[in-house]
């Protein structure tokens, strides 16, 4: 097991997991940071800590679950197609409607923790699938990758993470990576085993093609969707000239 740590393949796979995890966790990080805002000062740190702890536990369980599901026939095919879509969606600009929701702000510790954990459950499905795919079913890889990346998400959650996905270069690279991982999963699908026999070049050609597919689709859809999002006015204030100056 230990000699695995010294191979470059291992570190390449670990960095894939970390990158995917970071790129797909922006929204989760924002929820973590904002969910505890309405708590009394003293409880905020506690809320973040418990919320993140619960979310980490949940995320690990879900990821293991996904890994074992992916060993079933056909599901790799489904997973790969989903991943292609997740990659394209990463590249597309988000809808940023400035609407009034009807969610009430949680002013209690347990409410905030609940919000963090439920949000993480709902929003980490893409993430879990990506990480599971990048791990190729290796538990060691999976645990190592999650252990490194989850604390990064939790404690750098000063909303900086969300900004990562504003960098056009990073999201395109991330989309390509997700496409590549989807391709690897496709190649690993038991259904296609016979097709791949004797054609080892397909093991890199398919992932590369998938990466290019995500880039092309993402770029094309982003172009079509490109619309100017108006800035929203939030605060307007005025400091008048001092009266005594006029007198």
């Amino acid at each position: 097991m230990l000699e695995m740590l010294s191979t470059s393949q291992f570190w390449f796979d670990v960095s894939k997991i970390i990158v995917i995890d970071l790129l797909l966790s922006g929204d989760n990080a924002v929820v973590i940071a904002l969910a505890c805002r309405n708590l009394p000062e003293a409880q905020r740190k506690k809320g973040i800590m418990y919320g993140v702890g619960g979310a980490i536990g949940l995320r690990i369980v879900l990821t293991f679950f996904a890994v074992s599901l992916l060993s079933l026939p056909y599901l790799k095919l489904v997973g790969a197609l989903l991943l292609l879509w997740i990659g394209i969606k990463l590249i597309l600009p988000e809808d940023e409607a400035h609407g009034e929701g009807n969610i009430r702000a949680e002013a209690h510790l347990w409410g905030a923790i609940k919000t963090i954990i439920i949000a993480d459950f709902v929003m980490s499905l893409d993430n879990v699938l990506g990480v599971a795919a990048a791990a190729h079913g290796s538990v060691l890889l999976l645990v190592f990758g999650l252990l490194v990346s989850i604390p990064m998400i939790a404690w750098s959650s000063q909303l900086v993470l969300k900004l990562i996905d504003r960098f056009a270069f990073i999201i395109y690279a991330g989309g390509a990576l997700l496409g590549y991982v989807a391709g690897e999963m496709l190649v690993g699908e038991a259904l296609f085993k016979a097709l791949l026999e004797g054609q080892p070049y397909l093991h890199w050609l398919v992932p590369v093609m998938c990466a290019m597919f995500v880039l092309a689709m993402g770029w094309w859809l982003a172009m079509r969707k490109a619309s100017i999002v108006r800035a929203v006015d939030l605060v307007d204030g005025r400091v008048p000239a001092k009266l005594d100056a006029e007198l």
Binding site: L163, F167, V239, P240, K242
Partner: protein, 141 residues
């Protein structure tokens, strides 16, 4: 004369304020000063499923007022009247939009804001404002 000064709280943006304060005397009439801080929109549709708009806006307001503070202190201590504004969006676009809505006569900004890696990857805010705003832009080194 309406002068718009985008402020992100960085030393460079404060130099723009300094410049404006110093040049007020050169103007025939006291100018109408407008401070603008833009907060990145960090909450997409996903986040809004879990966090209500008011909490998100409170966050923007807090961050925005903190970014405006030093600039406001400088103007306050000189007793200059001004307006301040916080909007949410993409900085360069929001600056250009506000400038045209308010029909400002001039935009004064630091040559570089919260730069570094961010400006390399995003393209600097200054560059985009130069292209998108119709008002003349004065850059302060």
């Amino acid at each position: 004369m309406k002068i718009l000064i985008p402020v992100d709280g960085s030393p460079n943006s404060l130099r723009a304020i300094e410049h404006v304060i110093q040049s007020v005397a050169e103007l025939k009439e006291p100018p109408q000063l407008m401070l603008l801080n833009v907060q990145w929109n960090v909450a997409g549709a996903n986040v809004k499923m879990f966090i209500n708009q008011q909490t998100i806006d409170d966050y923007y307001r807090e961050q925005g007022m903190a970014a405006l503070k030093s600039a406001r202190d400088m103007l306050d201590s000189d007793g200059l009247p001004y307006q301040y504004h916080i909007s949410v969006g993409t900085p360069a676009e929001a600056i250009a939009q506000y400038a045209s809505e308010q029909e400002v006569d001039r935009i004064v900004m630091g040559r570089q804001g919260q730069g570094g890696m961010q400006s390399i990857l995003l393209g600097s805010v200054v560059n985009k404002v130069l292209h998108q705003a119709s008002a003349p832009v004065l850059l302060i080194k």
